[in-house]
Homo-oligomer: 153 residues x 4
């Protein structure tokens, strides 16, 4: 990921991200939480949960993707204007290794933030005891949406 | 999607797919079920569930992706050899429209089935009363895995 | 691909596509030409050329991707407003089989055309004598760009 | 990109990469050259060429993608076994900004090198005088191919 400084367009980006994240019922179901948050960068984590596994007992690629998608989305949202909401346009997930572990962490960072489109990248890690292993990457496009009554924040 | 005839490599592909699908706890949590199954093609569906929504009340892109990933995976698995398991290598999801609806359907079909790698494509639809609307597409790569004690079926 | 009817937003979409295509020096270098054109759908073809091959003598994946990208771009452009230009946001290319053949054909079709973003899909075929073989697929996002002096048509 | 040390599986990976790169006629046509090469990492560059432009006079997204694909491919190949060739399975390209500039550089690095599949990431930069600007990213899957008479090195 690119290590550059991101300038937020709003003062209260952190409150806006936390408020929106708090309204994602999916994040509650995954028991996901924000462990780090900065302008253009976020780290989420969730524990292993047996009810979100695939046929071999690993966390389902879809669950890991969900965490990565929220991470990419909020990294993008943290740099957006006050009056817009964020929607995902598309993403690609690469599954580097099976999602075996006790805790899963998604780190996402903005590559380029434009007025309409933002590009973010994410990496997911499986953590077990003291070790951390890269299990997936995401490359995604996010869109700022304004003026829709049904899509806010 | 390409409408071609797929030749299964095993007689019992249907039983193998249903058995493996039945072991995906994630599919149970999403209340997903198989509504059609043929060699190289599968249709899954799941109902709207409030606990898997994003911040605007739509189904989370990750939930739709999870259904599409399982659909692509099992379309691929239905054409694989007896002694292998299936893992997702990567996929791209395009979110055409917000996932608003009462029921969601994922249709996946194999584009090319090779001994090691299979390429599948999926489409997700939101259904509401009598209408059906395309909300997402997936293009994915699946891998046949043999000889690993921890990954079977 | 989805077989639906696309409504052009302009009467002269065909002239606009042909004019813009004619200004792509890259298409001339590949000796690519338009063989079919309709609102939301285009077919391009190019011959094998030894100077665009990779290390095994097949056409380079980048050459096939270039043809697919132009095809996706012009399928999208054919449905755009009069006063905009088209730029590619992102695409994924899947290489199904080595690009061996005498002629290569890219078929692209719009999946969803929005005011700002359009999603298109493409398929590339290698043709040899009478036979045609699927060698690659593309899933892409295109953007309508307005009001930039350096980007028109 | 991940900054980790990669262990080559062969002593002569550099000669193998340079030999294979030298056989890509496409690279000659783009006037591309290797400017850096290490195990698991490569930097390629090519000058602006008017015959590879799109309709607005920028380098075609396909030309940038071609450079990125070769870069990802050779970063992967540098870590592969002696007796295999490399083929691209799939890649996603994100076009961050129009390809305006005098010189274009693609930096690719392996994220994970497996016996069969390798995942690489690339970034393309446009250079103009002293400045360098990120214009595109790639996330790709490469495959080691053995035992095919038509695909070597």
């Amino acid at each position: 990921m690119i290590a550059n400084m991101h300038q937020p367009r709003t003062q209260n980006f952190e409150a806006r991200v936390r408020d929106s994240f708090g309204r994602q019922a999916m994040m509650k179901s995954l028991r996901a939480e924000i462990v780090e948050l900065a302008a253009g960068r976020i780290v989420l984590q969730m524990p292993f949960q047996a009810n979100f596994t695939q046929q071999h007992g690993f966390m389902h690629a879809g669950a890991i993707t969900t965490l990565l998608d929220s991470a990419c989305g909020y990294s993008a949202f943290s740099l957006m204007d006050e009056n817009v909401a964020v929607l995902t346009v598309e993403f690609k997930t690469t599954l580097i290794a099976p999602a075996a572990g006790q805790m899963f962490r998604a780190v996402a960072e903005v590559v380029k933030s434009g007025r309409n489109l933002t590009f973010s990248e994410g990496r997911a890690f499986a953590e077990d005891g003291g070790s951390s292993r890269l299990i997936a990457t995401m490359s995604g496009t996010l869109m700022a949406v304004a003026g829709r009554a049904d899509i806010q924040g």
